[in-house]
């Protein structure tokens, strides 16, 4: 089983501050980390590898900081990593990013499974998995919270499928896909392991390849700001209005607050 895990570095969301007067998020200078979803994708890849053998490749598009960030993936268990940090890829929309990723996957060539976070922790558009599946002409499933590799035999040749339990909020759906396939995972899938010191120290010695636009055969009209068709109109924190209702009477206050919370769906009966 050769598995490619697509990982996106995002700023540490817990450290974002909101400018109180303009409601703009302050994102400069914050540390870059992998989001929880991609960590789950990587964890699952490593678990599948532990059971079925093969190789795990981490693939990431982003800023040059990836040279550092990617070490976490290598420490957790990826066997090698490919990073794409050319400035040409900056400010891509989801389509642009999907093109870069799909072309890189195409160049890797040998793979049975592509795992990635269902959405990224920062933008949360959820567009990348279906887009790369479409570009690579592969079956795809999202919201996977449980995965199992099934090995079968079809007229003498080994076949591999993957069974995914999809979380559709009201229901769980079980889907089977022929491999190779693209699977977007949620954070219910597993609890990612922590990298031990010995693995951290060895991460830097694992193969790390940096590919540029020429390596994957992509041009400036397909990626980056130029190719982007998405325009961000606003990116402000929601207004948080305090209701400023003061109840003098505790009994009455509790009842009213509970009623309000029920109405807003914070509590359910």
């Amino acid at each position: 089983m050769n598995i490619i895990v697509c990982m996106k570095q995002v700023i540490d969301l817990e450290q974002i501050r909101i400018k109180p007067n303009t409601r703009e998020p302050v994102t400069k200078g914050l540390p870059l980390l992998f989001g929880d979803f991609e960590k789950c994708a990587l964890e699952e890849a490593v678990r599948i590898q532990e059971k079925h053998g093969g190789k795990v490749t981490a693939l990431a598009v982003g800023s040059p900081k990836l040279k550092d960030t990617i070490k976490e993936a290598l420490a957790i268990g990826a066997d090698e990593a490919i990073i794409l940090t050319d400035p040409m890829f900056n400010d891509s929309d989801a389509m642009g990013s999907a093109r870069v990723i799909a072309k890189a996957i195409h160049k890797i060539g040998e793979y049975d499974l592509i795992l990635l976070g269902d959405s990224s922790a920062d933008e949360y558009s959820g567009e990348i998995p279906p887009r790369i599946a479409e570009l690579l002409d592969l079956p795809q499933v999202g919201f996977a919270r449980e995965l199992e590799i099934l090995e079968g035999n079809d007229q003498g040749t080994n076949t591999k499928t993957i069974r995914a339990v999809r979380d559709l909020e009201d229901a769980l759906e079980v889907v089977e896909l022929d491999l190779p396939a693209v699977v977007g995972v949620t954070s219910e899938l597993n609890t990612p392991r922590l990298a031990p010191l010995s693995a951290i120290l060895k991460a830097g010695r694992k193969p790390l390849n940096e590919w540029g636009p020429e390596d994957i055969g992509i041009t400036a009209d397909e990626v980056g700001a130029n190719a982007s068709v998405v325009e961000v109109l606003s990116n402000l924190a929601p207004v948080q209005d305090r209701k400023e209702i003061i109840y003098e009477d505790v009994e009455e206050g509790v009842a009213e607050v509970v009623k309000a919370l029920l109405q807003e769906g914070v509590l359910t009966q």
């Binding site: 550092d68 070490k71 976490e72 420490a75 922590l194 990298a195 031990p196 010191l197 010995s198 951290i200 120290l201 991460a203 830097g204």
Partner: protein, 405 residues
Amino acid sequence: MEFRLSTEQELFKRMVREFCEKNVEPRSREMDDKEEGIPDELIKGLADLGVFGIMIPEKYGGSAPEGEEMTYANIAVQELGRAEMSMALPVYTLLCLGWGFLITKYGTEQLKEEVLPRVAAGEYFTGIATTEPGGGSDIANIQTSGMYKDGKFIVNGEKVYISGVLESIEQRDGGHITLIRTDPEAGHRGFTFVFIPAKLPGISYSTFDDIGRMALSTGSLVYKDVEVPEYYMLGEMNRGFYLNMEGFNLARILVAAACVGMTEKALEISRDYVKQRVLFGRPLAKFEGISFEIAEDHAKLEQLKLYLQYTAWAADTLYKEPDFISHRDLSRMVSICKMEAPMLGAEITQRCMTHLGAFSYTKECPLGRGLRGIMSYVVGAEGGYHIQKLIIAREYIGDEAVPYR
């Protein structure tokens, strides 16, 4: 000049923090209340992360970042101090790291093979036993004897206030690097450092009823004709005093790390609290009487933290470049850390408690545990407050400032 942690150091720090926030912090109160030691799962989890193997080469089951051991240990112990403010777990760990490093450096092959893999796996405790009923500060005056005969030291005497007594005899397994008198005539030039497994025949123990770090025991060890095989000796015969000082340099850096970690967390608790506690119509943080105190404490702590990182780096560098500075120069730096960290930490923690008011006086609030824990290092553990001043004065002013010469 590079002030940043490396990517690997940063990653390790985050791993330890994630482990601690999820596993250690939620159990910190229970550990202090129950007084039943440190849960095995926590030690095991930290061992799996490689924390207990920081000082131990791969050959002996560790994962030493060779040449950067103290820097990594400083990082890990600070994180433990943040998560377990009573400091029982940080102290347990730092003793294994600091004194374990001395075994790595000066132990015989047989001792290293016997002990180090078990330390790395979190099964075995390694501590230090120098203090005696006659006083801890005046180490040159220890009385425990260890006459060498037929390949063995015959040890007789008593060590007191020794951390990890129950841990190494009842709860887990372990031993202490012990300072003994091997040449009664030669003063401190007649001391030898031997590792003594706490379960050797002839050792009896009792424990003290401490006021803090309740999940870690301290007690006394009484040695009656204890036979310690020669391979347990560290370094050379009659060089124990100097090795002891070298070991203090390592352990005291990590003591300061535990104190800095605890204090950093105490200050964060206070910072977060005063932002949301509304009094006289505004958050407490709006009052300069409070915010300036926090600002000043933050400033002092940041300075200390940076100096500590520098000292840990200096210790690492000294092992790589033996003429970088002298061991005595390193002692001066280390004593600055060991003098400042517990006292400053205790003062800051007290101020934090005043910011939180009555809540800080309950056991639900971790600040009280922190204050009780850090006081162990003010009153003496790993060398008293004044002794650090004595060392700094000796190295900075010169022999004129040494009272015992």
